[in-house]
Symmetry: C2
Amino acid sequence: MIDKLVKNIQKTNAPIVVGLDPMLNYVPEHIQKAAFAEYGETLEGAGEAIWQFNKGIVDATYDLIPAVKPQIAMYEQFGIEGLKAFKKTVDYCKEKGLVVIGDIKRGDIGSTSTAYAVGHIGKVQVGSKTYAGFDEDFITVNPYLGTDGIKPFVDVCKEENKGIFVLVKTSNPSSGEFQDRLIDGRPLYEIVGDMVDKWGSDVVGESGYSAVGAVVGATYPEMGKVLRKVMPKSFILVPGYGAQGGKAADLVHYFNEDRLGAIVNSSRGIIAAYKQDKYAQFGAENYADASRQAVVDMIEDINGALDA
Amino acid sequence: MIDKLVKNIQKTNAPIVVGLDPMLNYVPEHIQKAAFAEYGETLEGAGEAIWQFNKGIVDATYDLIPAVKPQIAMYEQFGIEGLKAFKKTVDYCKEKGLVVIGDIKRGDIGSTSTAYAVGHIGKVQVGSKTYAGFDEDFITVNPYLGTDGIKPFVDVCKEENKGIFVLVKTSNPSSGEFQDRLIDGRPLYEIVGDMVDKWGSDVVGESGYSAVGAVVGATYPEMGKVLRKVMPKSFILVPGYGAQGGKAADLVHYFNEDRLGAIVNSSRGIIAAYKQDKYAQFGAENYADASRQAVVDMIEDINGALDA
């Protein structure tokens, strides 16, 4: 799957991923109204609204982008009905040829991590049959529990040709509270980075990149530069561009010389583009066109920085 | 909700929690057969099987225990249908007066943690209405992202009178890989423990305990002893007793002088008791009676250690 991600990036010349993290207040009124007219102001109605919202954005952008990253929390907040919208979104994006990165940040001890892996990137056994519960292509995972919490995910990646991105240095303001603490003179995120490199050493694809990638926030470019060297074969999934403050010029060192090795996420900046002054002329009715323009601008911004 | 947990423990004189982590191979054949006869060997059939299995155990044990801890991964592996069984289990246990600890180990950056909090222990806004998606009483959360990943959960705890248990020192073999690393001479788990104490200082209930508790594995009793002192007002949720190797005598120091402050989890040891030689005489048909006996034995074991 890492090879498919690389191919999709090369085909689109766009090392970006669109974060499908729909807050209900991002969804234009006409979509909310239609969903509530059909299902009422219910969890089902909310699920329908965010699904229709997503579908519009995917239809308007799928030819420009290699991948999407639905954030499961934004669906899970609406319970079962929200998760149905998550599943529909995953399936639809895959039909469109996109690589789907489920931003689920799961992680537990051995057998429990296996259950998450099976449910999200593998197949579960039911009697004599097997089923894929959510069936994303990649998922994000949390490393706090150590190797025996991560290994089950890597095993399923190998069996099913899927991938993971391990949280290494997150984009939020207080990420340093634990992640930056020094251990034998090196910050924890580097120690985790060492392990990412190790966990991924056995699942390197034809592209030369590993099925085990890392999450490193755009908001900490100096750390990204170091981590690029610590994990040379890992793709870096980079949240924090745009709305959170990360700038394209800062992200150059997250990439390798081959212009690969990183994929920059934008969520709000793309999916709620129509709410920005810059794209206000599109109007809420044409929110998806605003998202398309924001994608074009983002690709130009990132590629411009890589060219410079 | 921490006060309800304390009351339930005092009423039952049982500082234990039953982990409802149903692997399909724990479910006796007669239950699987009935579920598959109705729904086929499908995800729906699997969901029905684990729900019926859980219901049997809850019916046979609810009068003896204060709380249950369903592990969401074991449901999530069956996709939407599994999560419906999770939700049914949560609702049913609450009807029975049990405190429900959703073992979900979520954690993300600010607004995303808010979405998880809202979905699991709070209420989500849909138009003019509000809904509780999963509605557990407590959930477990992962601290790797720092304060701004935890604060949204604490805020919802305050609003909704709910609680969280933060992963501090987990029970698995490789938990020490990151959690034990020394930072200024102290292991990371102690630094996280300090923060748990701080995060919880503002949400202390009438019982004197905080809505912010901690997860500390039974498999590391010396660390449990230290962490008890680091977080005097936090309840400690203790996984790893029984099947994972934790012994009652080791757990005495997880408790405070008031015989409160800790709640010991057993999952496999209770719910799959009928598979052990010790309870084999019950047979698979009477698996729930075997679970009841295993609960009685566990309570005696823990209380015996506390008396000694």
